[in-house]
């Protein structure tokens, strides 16, 4: 095997890993879209907010420290304690559930029966709001997130694959964190599917997704289901936030990953959980391969737009995505 080919394989592997992370964000979108027909633009910011909160709690930061200092002229920043990772994750989850309740109570409940596009714009507003609150609460500097996940290249894989190529090839370079992320994503998907299929709440969730009015008429509480779904999305956002935050630090660009998840969704179809995973993998591999093969010829940094253009071209031929339900239009 030539080295060039092996490098290509390495690119594909890394693309798959990146794709898993995209899929993690896309999963949150699908959950909310299926259950309430809301296209939640704020998903990426939720991931950022969850990661910020997690770091903040672990470091023992005082929430709204800057604001309090500016108003009262005090100089407080830290409580002076450190919270262990697991407890901090639980606390963050509680906050995300509260957030889900607040979104439902103050925003979505008042927008029932509005057009989907209005709901979409409301979530854009929500994204701005949450971003501002996150920065106000915890400050906007780049933070390091360390919850004890293994990081750095996996030497085991590197050493055991080096024999494949010539002496110029040093084995596949794969980040351990990516492997963990893949495992977590797999567990998450299995858990979500199992939850939706085999529990009472999951059944109610699917019923709501199918038909709001029919679900109401058999006594399912829409409010409860929506809070549940937003909490689940918050949980997925937290997981995605931990993975991305551990990979590249907790910073504003995290919310841009949400935008990357959009072409993933379009490719996979808005209503399909497997679609989100497959779409994520296709986008991840596609953009890495494109950057590797064509990128150097046209100036590089093609990752910025490749996913969108791929999704655009794909949609022209199949408007509902790979696994989406067929769009039927009636007058």
């Amino acid at each position: 095997m030539t080295d060039q080919f092996l490098f290509g394989v390495e690119v594909v592997l890394n693309g798959l890993m990146a794709g898993v992370l995209y899929a993690l964000v896309a999963l949150g979108f699908v959950l909310i879209f299926k259950a309430s027909g809301i296209f939640n633009y704020a998903q990426g910011v939720m991931a950022l907010f969850a990661a910020l909160t997690l770091v903040g709690i672990m470091e023992g930061q005082v929430p709204f420290a800057h604001l309090i200092n500016a108003i009262f002229g005090t100089e407080i920043h830290h409580f002076g304690w450190h919270v262990p990772a697991l407890a901090a994750i639980l606390l963050t989850m509680v906050l995300m559930v509260f957030f889900a309740w607040a979104v439902n109570h103050f925003v979505m409940r008042h927008l029932v029966n509005q057009e989907p596009i209005i709901l979409f714009m409301a979530t854009i507003g929500l994204a701005y709001f949450l971003e501002g609150v996150g920065d106000l609460m915890w400050g906007s500097e780049i933070k390091k997130l360390d919850v004890g996940l293994p990081q750095g290249a996996s030497f085991w894989i590197e050493e055991n694959t080096a024999f494949l190529g010539s002496e110029n090839f040093f084995g596949f370079f794969i980040d351990q964190l990516d492997i963990v992320a893949t495992l977590v994503a797999a567990v998450l998907v299995v858990a979500l599917v199992a939850f939706a299929q085999y529990t009472k709440q999951g059944r109610a969730m699917r019923a709501v997704a199918d038909d709001h009015q029919a679900a109401l008429s058999v006594g399912i509480s829409l409010n409860f289901i929506w809070v549940l779904v937003w909490s689940l999305a918050g949980f997925v956002a937290l997981v995605a936030g931990i993975m991305w935050g551990a990979k590249s630090g907790v910073q504003f660009s995290l919310s841009l990953i949400a935008l990357k998840a959009l072409p993933v969704l379009m490719l996979g179809g808005f209503t399909s959980i497997p679609g989100a995973i497959v779409g994520g993998l296709i986008i991840g591999v596609g953009e890495k391969l494109f950057e590797f093969t064509i990128g150097p010829m046209i100036g590089g940094a093609t990752e910025n737009w490749f996913a969108y253009v791929l999704a655009l071209l794909f949609l022209v031929f199949r408007p509902q995505g790979l696994f989406g339900e067929k769009i039927i239009e009636r007058v």
């Binding site: 800057h66 596009i117 209005i118 507003g125 920065d135 906007s140 072409p263 737009w305 007058v331």
Partner: protein, 358 residues
């Protein structure tokens, strides 16, 4: 008391179908024009021009453009920043390639070039609808910004990768470059805004505007009653991009003078203009102005109050701005989905009966 149609008899079809059927409205409109053209240029100073008036006018053009596409034709676009970049770079290339031609013509041509690019990216809209289209327009946003960043021909191989506007004159008065005065900037933008608003208003109440609205309200039904979706959607993309291109060209040539594409025409611009038309009111020319004024004034106001008045640092004020803008958008969507324009309309309805509401 003065705002009545009573006694205002229309004797011809032209009178009957005019833009401002109520006399008071008409006079108010002339009054605004007189103030804008006859008084403000003589009293405007640098701060007001740069912080408030010029950005307001430029974003008003962009908001009118996006409103035609999103508000009138129902095609949500998140590619406004990318199309503004096309306008800006087209203007720059024209200015440097044909230095003898008037800048006003360049600005118009930049609009036409953007219209062409807009049609190209509008083509998928015939197959893709709703959210899918919104995401597809993101492709335009990211691809165009990348293109202007990576292909050196667009920025004339300058070392910094920036483009900066050379000095150009209209009737001997500099309107671009370092020596331009506040009133000249303001007047150029005002001329374009007036022209664009007039054009948009008249397009939207004619045949073409009606076909846009038919597509927006239900595209299949519109197709059945004989509206050609290809023509309607692509003209909407073309006209909308034309306006947005002019706005982008003005932003570069007249307002900023030198731009770096990722910063001046990034995805944030797309959202900014989208917020303008949501807050202002979808499907309304007045709404575009109201929204632009609101979104330009809000940061200035917040900055003056929080930084100037309370002495907070600017980063904190910026975060606060995010919170307020986000909350306002949600509040507007809940309380008044049709935006400031609807409030304005309601106020006028009330005014017609005032002071004897029974």
């Amino acid at each position: 008391m003065f705002y009545r149609e009573a006694g205002d008899f229309k004797t011809s079809y032209v009178d009957d179908s005019q833009t401002f059927p109520i006399a008071f409205d008409r006079y108010r409109y002339y009054f605004v024009l007189v103030i804008a053209f006859g008084i403000i240029p003589f009293i405007i100073n640098d701060y007001w021009a740069n912080a408030v008036m010029v950005p307001f006018l430029i974003y008003a053009i962009a908001a009118i453009g996006l409103n035609i596409l999103t508000g009138y034709c129902g095609q949500v676009s998140l590619g406004t920043g990318g199309f503004m970049a096309v306008g800006g770079y087209a203007c720059y290339k024209l200015m440097t390639a044909f230095p003898d031609v008037s800048i006003m013509i360049h600005l118009l041509l930049a609009g036409f070039i953007t219209a062409g690019v807009g049609v190209l990216f509008g083509l998928p809209s015939l197959r893709i609808k709703g959210f899918y289209l919104a995401v597809a327009t993101l492709a335009a946003q990211f691809f165009l910004v990348w293109l202007f960043n990576k292909v050196p021909w667009f920025y004339n191989y300058s070392a910094s990768g920036q483009i900066s506007a050379p000095e150009r004159f209209v009737f001997g008065v500099p309107v671009t470059g370092p020596n331009v005065e506040a009133w000249a900037k303001y007047t150029v933008c005002l001329i374009f805004v007036t022209g664009c608003a007039w054009l948009a208003r008249n397009l939207t109440r004619g045949t073409i505007g009606r076909s846009w609205m038919a597509i927006r309200d239900m595209d299949i039904a519109a197709e059945i009653i004989g509206v050609n979706p290809l023509k309607a959607k692509l003209t909407a993309f073309a006209v909308s991009s034309f306006f947005i291109g002019i706005a982008g060209a003005l932003l570069f040539a007249v307002y900023l003078g030198a731009v770096e594409v990722g910063e001046a025409y990034g995805i944030n611009k797309s959202f900014l203009v989208l917020f303008m038309i949501i807050i202002g009111g979808l499907g309304s020319i007045f709404g575009a102005f109201a929204g632009a004024a609101f979104m330009v004034l809000l940061p200035v106001l917040l900055k003056n109050v929080l930084v100037g008045g309370l002495g907070w640092d600017t980063a904190l004020a910026t975060h606060f701005e995010f919170v307020i803008v986000g909350a306002l958008i949600i509040i507007f969507l809940i309380a008044e989905p049709h935006g400031l324009a609807q409030l304005w309309k309601l106020a006028k309805e009330k005014l017609r009966l005032w002071p004897f509401p029974h």
